[in-house]
């Protein structure tokens, strides 16, 4: 069987289609950064161990460093460049700005995309490791600071702006449309 090591793919990013040839080795992260000039998504470890490259794929937060570009064809990708509504910042972005939810800013796009995805997950009723009783009968889990911390733990911040990131997410969560702006998350797999 012949081996084909590159393909022409069409990536859907922030509502736009981009058709380009990619080496199969190219991750979604490198495709965004090196091929499409969408450098808002950051490379912190390239190993799925820091969360700096978090984007939304079909509305779900995903680390772009472990997602092959070729495997992303047909899926809808939202990056930090695509979360604002024109000049109007997404409520999560605005809260990070107002409450100093960052220092160097390098993990920030990943934190923000992660927070947007996380708020949608919580709104869909997903439990977390901080939730204690996970049984549906226990009722929905309130989005406490501890819940936010657990759910955001896949995003490292070495400057350690954690305190204000959590405050920013709390504030954004109070804004109803920050949840609406996150893409839909179904509650569980098809039953």
């Amino acid at each position: 069987m012949t081996l084909q090591t590159s393909s022409v793919v069409t990536l859907h990013i922030n509502g736009e289609k981009h058709t380009l040839p990619v080496d199969h080795r190219t991750t979604l992260l490198d495709a965004l950064r090196e091929r499409l000039d969408l450098t808002g998504t950051k490379k912190g470890c390239d190993q799925g161990q820091c969360g700096a490259c978090t984007v939304l794929v079909d509305g779900r937060r995903t680390v772009a460093c472990l997602q092959l570009a070729v495997a992303t064809e047909g899926r809808e990708v939202t990056t930090i460049e695509g979360v604002a509504d024109g000049d109007r910042l997404h409520p999560v972005q605005q809260a990070f700005l107002d409450l100093d939810g960052y220092q160097c800013g390098y993990c920030t796009p990943g934190q923000i995309c992660s927070a947007i995805g996380m708020l949608a997950e919580h709104a869909a009723g997903w439990p977390s490791a901080a939730s204690g009783d996970v049984r549906p009968a226990a009722g929905p889990t309130p989005l406490t600071a501890d819940e936010i911390r657990e759910r955001m733990s896949g995003n490292l911040c070495r400057c350690s702006a954690y305190t204000s990131i959590v405050e920013a997410v709390e504030r954004a969560a109070e804004t109803a449309d920050s949840i609406k702006a996150g893409a839909p998350v179904e509650s569980g797999a098809a039953a």
């Binding site: 991750t27 799925g48 472990l66 997602q67 092959l68 997903w126 549906p136 896949g154 797999a189």
Partner: protein
């Protein structure tokens, strides 16, 4: 990372046909472990067969009254599923204790079972490792091994299995379904992972080219009262140094049924059958729980720097069983 061919499998038969007789091909699902290992050079496949989009993404009731979980169901969806949460809470908790929100969204149930050890000697291709390079030796034995195995290991390999989910599945007697180009098969989870012996590179009982298509969760009534607790070196987003999946049925102060499995102590999720035998029929007391843990851990063979795991697993077992008992009493 070397260049590779990429195919998106049209269906299960197409997928298994593409891998048949091709030792250099790998299935790609969530990619959270495989792509990482390709970057570090541990895996160097010539072809990836993408199975992420196969129609194996459903969680459905099975005829025996249990649940069937498709292999490409994401870890997130498994943990969020109402039936899983109500009937098998320790499974939902185990999944939620693993990795991060992002990785759980990407990772699949099938891939989670087949993830490779996180032993740092295994993932560093400049070091010897019997699992990666049979016969090259095991530097962990005399090196850094504070998070290595205390049960079921050998002189060849002391690495631990990294999955949380599989620990709960082992306690539940889950059955793994697979397909090859030559037919279908199934294997109970506690038979899926092979003993280490002197062949740590042979990790599972799956035939070559097999694709996991799903998992059956039997109707285990005791599982409705279950817990998973994980201890790690930071509060989240870290692999376990010890974990316990436990289900307990206590009536009139007596243990009627129990399920117990340990994580991060062996090359596979460790079903604690000796402890289960000691529990069932005994009074639900701290003394019983301690005795059951001691019975299971009598087989522990700690290394110079991981003896604490014996204490940890003992204490964690007693703590989780006590919590389950107290929750009944309330």
């Amino acid at each position: 990372m070397k260049e590779f061919d990429y195919r998106r499998a049209p269906d299960v038969m197409g997928a298994v046909t593409l891998l048949d007789n091709d030792p250099d091909a790998r299935y790609l699902a969530g990619g959270t472990n495989l792509v990482d290992l390709m970057k570090s050079g541990v895996e160097r496949p010539a072809r990836l067969v993408d199975v992420r989009e196969l129609p194996l993404d459903r969680i459905e009731p099975s005829p025996d009254g249990g649940l069937h979980v498709g292999a490409t169901v994401s870890n997130s969806d498994l943990a969020a599923h109402p039936e899983v949460r109500s009937r098998y809470p320790m499974l939902a908790q185990a999944v939620l204790a693993g990795a991060s929100g992002q990785l759980r969204n990407m990772a699949t149930v099938g891939g989670n079972l087949l993830q490779r050890t996180r032993c740092a000697y295994f993932t560093d291709t400049t070091k010897p490792c019997n699992k990666r390079d049979p016969g090259s030796g095991c530097p962990a034995l005399s090196g850094e091994h504070h998070n290595h195995a205390i049960l079921g290991a050998s002189e060849s390999c002391v690495a631990v299995h990294p999955s949380d989910m599989a620990v709960a599945l082992t306690a539940l007697d889950a059955v793994v379904h697979y397909e090859t180009a030559h037919g279908q098969g199934e294997v109970r989870l506690d038979q899926l992972y092979l003993p280490v012996a002197d062949t740590p590179h042979r990790e599972t009982a799956l035939p070559a080219g097999a694709l996991i298509t799903g998992i059956s969760l039997p109707p285990v009534s005791v599982a409705a009262h279950s817990r998973y607790r994980k201890v790690r070196e930071r509060a989240s987003y870290a692999f376990a140094i010890g974990s316990v999946a436990a289900a307990l049925d206590v009536r009139d102060g007596v243990v009627r049924d129990a399920r117990l499995a340990f994580g991060a102590v062996a090359s596979r999720p460790w079903r604690a059958r000796t402890a289960e035998r000691a529990l069932i029929g005994a009074p639900a007391t701290a003394e019983t729980f301690a005795a059951s843990a001691e019975a299971e851990l009598a087989a522990a063979r700690p290394l110079p720097h991981n003896g604490y795991k014996v204490t940890l697993m003992h204490n964690l077992t007693v703590a989780v069983l006590s919590e389950l008992t107290e929750a009944v009493a309330r």
